[in-house]
């Protein structure tokens, strides 16, 4: 029987070629879409992107000025949202992963709830925020502390932040759980074998190793929070405010919402268009920066923790 030759065949193997071609084209397509968006935005947005644009308030009915209040509002919103979502989400994930019986009914119910929460459309969150936070909680606070005056019972920074927190909670929980799972079992066993209580193991070994994953989840949640508009529509975002928000019950301007406003509520569409593009550019840049930092954090931490295991 003749043995197959070792010489490379002159005709390339067709299966490989087809696959290479197909996947390459798909990648090019995705890159093309991204390029078109970026190209369009950059071409039209850099014109008005000046330092003044970033530091001044909008003026003359949104046809001039800058987006400074929107930036501030976005930052405040994101900070409050993170402060609310992160501890709650991390704690939930720790409970689910470390303490709860994985097969138990309560655990399974919680998991189902978290998964479903992740799938809820963001506008529904907005309505929830309006009904529960603004009217119920806010109204209750007004009745108890302000004698019926409308202080908290209206759209406010705090309610928008809490609504966003609920929206991003599943992301934080899932990312944290994934980070906890990634901590290998053998270091947990090592800690236990040294006479550590469960609490000590979690705090001294598991959490430190899970931090990069948790951070990644947090950054992704933040980047989502910076861009989502629907949940804050009824719960706190404002079309225009003369002053910056400085209490929890103030309203605020926000970048994503400002894009909507510039695109639909402008008296002079042509004058506003360059401002619109510039705002979009800022928003995109912010999102990209957040995602990029998530990637950097993740890869740097990964290197630190994987080491040179021979």
């Amino acid at each position: 029987m003749k043995r197959p030759t070792l010489q490379a065949s002159r005709r390339p193997r067709t299966g490989d070629a087809i696959l290479w071609l197909a996947t390459g084209l798909a990648t090019l397509l995705v890159l093309a879409v991204l390029a078109i968006i970026l190209f369009d935005v950059i071409r039209n947005g850099t014109q008005k992107l000046t330092l003044g644009f970033l530091t001044k308030a909008p003026a003359e009915g949104m046809t001039a000025g800058g987006i400074f209040p929107a930036i501030i509002g976005t930052v405040e919103l994101v900070i409050l949202m993170t402060l609310a979502a992160l501890p709650a989400g991390v704690a939930t994930a720790i409970y689910l992963h470390e303490y709860a019986d994985p097969m138990g009914i309560p655990t399974r119910i919680v998991r189902i709830a978290v998964n479903n929460l992740a799938g809820v459309p963001s506008i529904v969150f907005g309505l929830f925020g309006l009904g529960f936070f603004v009217q119920f909680a806010g109204g209750g606070i007004d009745k108890l502390f302000y004698g019926g005056a409308k202080v908290y019972g209206q759209p406010a920074l705090i309610w928008a932040a809490l609504t966003m927190a609920v929206l991003t909670l599943p992301v934080v929980i899932v990312a944290t759980e994934e980070a906890l799972s990634a901590v290998p079992r053998d270091v947990r066993l090592a800690s236990a074998a040294l006479g550590a209580t469960k609490f000590q193991t979690i705090v001294r070994v598991v959490l430190p190793q899970a931090v990069p994953g948790i951070l990644t989840g947090a950054i992704l949640a933040i980047s989502r929070g910076a861009g989502e508009v629907a949940p804050i529509l009824f719960t706190g975002a404002a079309y225009f405010l003369p002053s910056l928000p400085h209490t929890f019950h103030d309203q605020f301007m926000q970048l994503g919402y400002h894009v909507y406003v510039l695109a639909t509520q402008s008296p002079d569409v042509d004058a506003t268009r360059p401002l619109l593009y510039a705002t979009v550019l800022v928003l995109l840049a912010l999102t990209f920066a957040l995602n990029a930092s998530a990637i950097v954090v993740r890869s740097r931490m990964r290197r630190r923790f994987s080491g040179a295991h021979s």
Partner: protein, 263 residues
């Protein structure tokens, strides 16, 4: 217990383990036992047997690490120098501080070498810096690792070689000053030279600690231990001095296993 008996027990405390009718169940299935064994203190005892014979399960029962596995149930008792380690009033965490364990694949924490060794001390409440460094150095010396790492104590433990990492894990266990050290195939992932160093270390450790080592390498068991226990299909078949087991074992199964007649 009256004063005299208590005193005698304290004087006789050598880190010996007394195992009575020990059996381990995973759910309804019996994985091992019942086993009776007297493990002498300050000696090396080897546990040998084919895969799945229960020797690792037995080892884990000696420091209550089996409880980390869900669905695991233990019957019978184990006593450390006449003190029971199972029972309603006994704290598993305290048991593990006196009976330490080193695992098959070295598992240092992703921290510095110093922090790895100091970990057991910190969780025990030792925080004084001079005491910590003293005990860390001592533990690393006992594990024959001090000279190699003394200049890089604050570098990551993950940068060490496999054999060094395993010795680090041993140092980490020693820092807590246990009475017994359990080793689950400590050298199986190492090359011959690193293995030889670990074996030499085990030999030295036996002067101060009771060592129980699971190994699938019979020559290693013969080299390293004073006593050997042969497990097969969850039962203890024979337990005797190592030289007896390897020259004239009493049980046919032991003979068949160690001569390689398991067809």
């Amino acid at each position: 217990m009256n004063m005299q008996v208590a005193q005698e027990t304290a004087e006789a405390a050598t880190g010996s383990l007394s195992v009575g009718k020990l059996a381990v169940f995973y759910g309804d299935k019996k994985a091992m036992g019942p086993v009776d064994m007297e493990i002498p203190g300050r000696k090396v005892t080897a546990l040998i047997g084919p895969s799945g014979c229960g020797k690792s399960t037995f080892l884990r029962s000696l420091n209550r690490m089996n409880e980390m596995i869900t669905g695991c149930r233990v019957e019978g008792d184990v006593k450390l120098d006449a003190e029971p380690i199972y029972g309603p009033g006994v704290d598993a965490v305290a048991v593990r501080r006196r009976i330490g364990m080193v695992f098959q694949k070295s598992n240092p924490f992703p921290k510095s070498i110093y922090e790895n060794v100091a970990y057991g001390l910190r969780i025990g409440g030792v925080n004084d810096r001079s005491e910590l460094s003293g005990r860390v150095e001592q533990a690393l010396e006992h594990a024959a690792l001090w000279d190699e790492v003394k200049d890089r104590l604050h570098e990551s433990a993950l940068g060490l070689s496999g054999g060094q990492q395993q010795r680090l894990c041993i140092a980490r266990a020693l820092a807590v000053e246990p009475e017994v050290i359990l080793m689950d195939e400590p050298a199986s992932a190492l090359d011959p030279i690193a293995t030889a160093r670990i074996e030499e270390l085990i030999h030295e450790l036996a002067r101060d600690y009771t060592v129980v080592i699971v190994t699938h390498n019979m020559q290693q068991a013969a080299r390293v231990s004073h006593h050997t226990a042969f497990f097969y299909m969850g039962d203890l078949i024979e337990f005797d001095r190592t030289d007896v087991i390897f020259t004239k074992p009493r049980q046919q199964k032991t003979e068949d296993y160690i001569t390689g007649r398991f067809g």
